[in-house]
């Protein structure tokens, strides 16, 4: 059996089943949907055991050279605490694990996040005005005006009237332009996925039909 062709056919049939939803909900779509969800769940369980639990925990507790590192029992116990959520009486234990995850994550990323997404962005907005060619300066001014007027729009402690209101209007206009750009990019992404599927169906799957039927070599 040619496994490659079998794989291509399975991929094509499941793709067509999923696209059939565009006409209306139907059993083929339901089958493909359930297949996808079930296979994803199964795949992730095995992948996590093989690639996360065994190398990062089990092999460290029981190293290849022998022995037993009892310290690694601690993360194991915390992992079991996470599963306590499914037993209502001891569900509170999971908070210990979640607390540790959130605490470590926040501690490690708080300063970095502020530096990367606040300080550097503010600096980039302020200092961009003074450098570059005339076009760069113009672009930078648009950026600064956009940022300030956008912030003004979200300032609700003062009525949006007079100069303040006009600035807020500039802000909402710039926000709409930004949303439009995001919408355009989103369409590009979705169409790209459709193109990928169509290229697969037309260039990989369709040529296998004559081969299977013994037409055209």
């Amino acid at each position: 059996m040619n496994w490659e062709i079998l794989g291509i056919w399975l991929g094509a049939l499941v793709t067509l089943c999923l696209y059939s939803f565009l006409y209306r909900d139907n059993p083929f779509y339901k089958f493909a949907e359930h297949l996808f969800v079930g296979m994803s769940a199964g795949y992730w369980v095995i992948y996590t055991i093989e690639n996360v639990l065994i190398p990062n925990w089990w092999l460290k507790m029981f190293p290849a050279e022998g022995g037993f590192n009892w310290v690694w029992l601690i993360p194991g116990i915390f992992a079991l605490f996470m599963l306590a959520r499914i037993v209502p009486k001891i569900a509170g234990l999971s908070r210990l694990s979640l607390g540790m995850i959130v605490g470590v994550g926040a501690g490690l990323s708080m300063v970095s996040f502020f530096q990367t997404n606040a300080m550097a962005q503010v600096k980039g907005t302020i200092f961009s005005v003074a450098t570059g060619s005339a076009w760069d300066v113009f672009s930078s001014l648009v950026l600064v005006v956009g940022v300030v007027s956008g912030l003004v729009y979200f300032f609700f402690s003062k009525a949006h009237t007079g100069l303040f209101g006009k600035t807020a209007n500039v802000g909402i206009t710039i926000l709409m332009v930004a949303f439009g750009a995001s919408f355009g990019y989103t369409i590009m992404a979705r169409i790209s996925l459709l193109i990928g599927r169509c290229q697969f169906l037309l260039e990989d799957w369709l040529p296998t039909i004559p081969r299977l039927l013994g037409i055209g070599g």
């Binding site: 996360v52 970095s112 790209s192």
Partner: protein, 279 residues
Amino acid sequence: MADFYEKLGNIDRRIIFVLIALAVIIPIIFGMVFPNPVGAEPSRDLFNYVDSLPEGSNVLISFDYDPSTMPELQPMAEAIVLHLFQKNINIVGMALWPQGASLGQDAMSSMADSLGKVQFEDWCNLGYKTGGGVMIVRLGSSMSAVFPTDRDDVLWSEIPMLRGITSLESFSLIISLSAGDPGIIAWVMMAGDRFGVPIGGGCTAVSAPTLYTYLQTGQMVGMLGGLKGAADYETLVGITGGQAVRGMAPQSIAHIVIMLFIIIGNVAYLSQRKKGGAK
């Protein structure tokens, strides 16, 4: 005339689906390829940065995506890998997404085979490691502690090209091909801003507007956004008939169809509002 506009406004969505499908399928069947001029864009910035790296430099590519975003990111991966190999730059691959390691392996091994590059001397794949940003911070102090072996369990010490590499600072550039989180933002935050390593990247079109802000501040040296970014890099590297370049014809025609429907929808809406039917 008013009825006509009303009918337009209530057009069956399945007709739109068919037209979009035709707009994509017909250009693919007829092999249509549109010119893809590349201006002074973030794609060119990334290309120029890679082009300016000296031979023998080490570049880390993190394949942070999975098959669901392959149409956009795999052509980027192949074009970037080809460019790096052409420049005789060593590539160390890794992934923050589990399936990214396999997709990266496909991109690197296929390009390496065509250019005669040798695994473990010119390129290697360290594989997937969980942890996202926290793991990147650890890479900043010791790479071999995080990746004692590569994807195929070959020991770090047995891979010749890794002998001079100790931490993230051993790399001239880090490129993240990212479909979401963890991805480019984690690399900018934990590697770029923390350890001062230049960061470049490629991303899906959905996340491109969010990431453009890192270009203006200089936190990224260049970026490929969506299929257009992939087509740009293919053009700059000189790949003829690449997957992304071929995808730009159906992409453009589908966009025209969508824009036509946006215009039709607005005309129908305004007409109905004039009549007093829509609010």
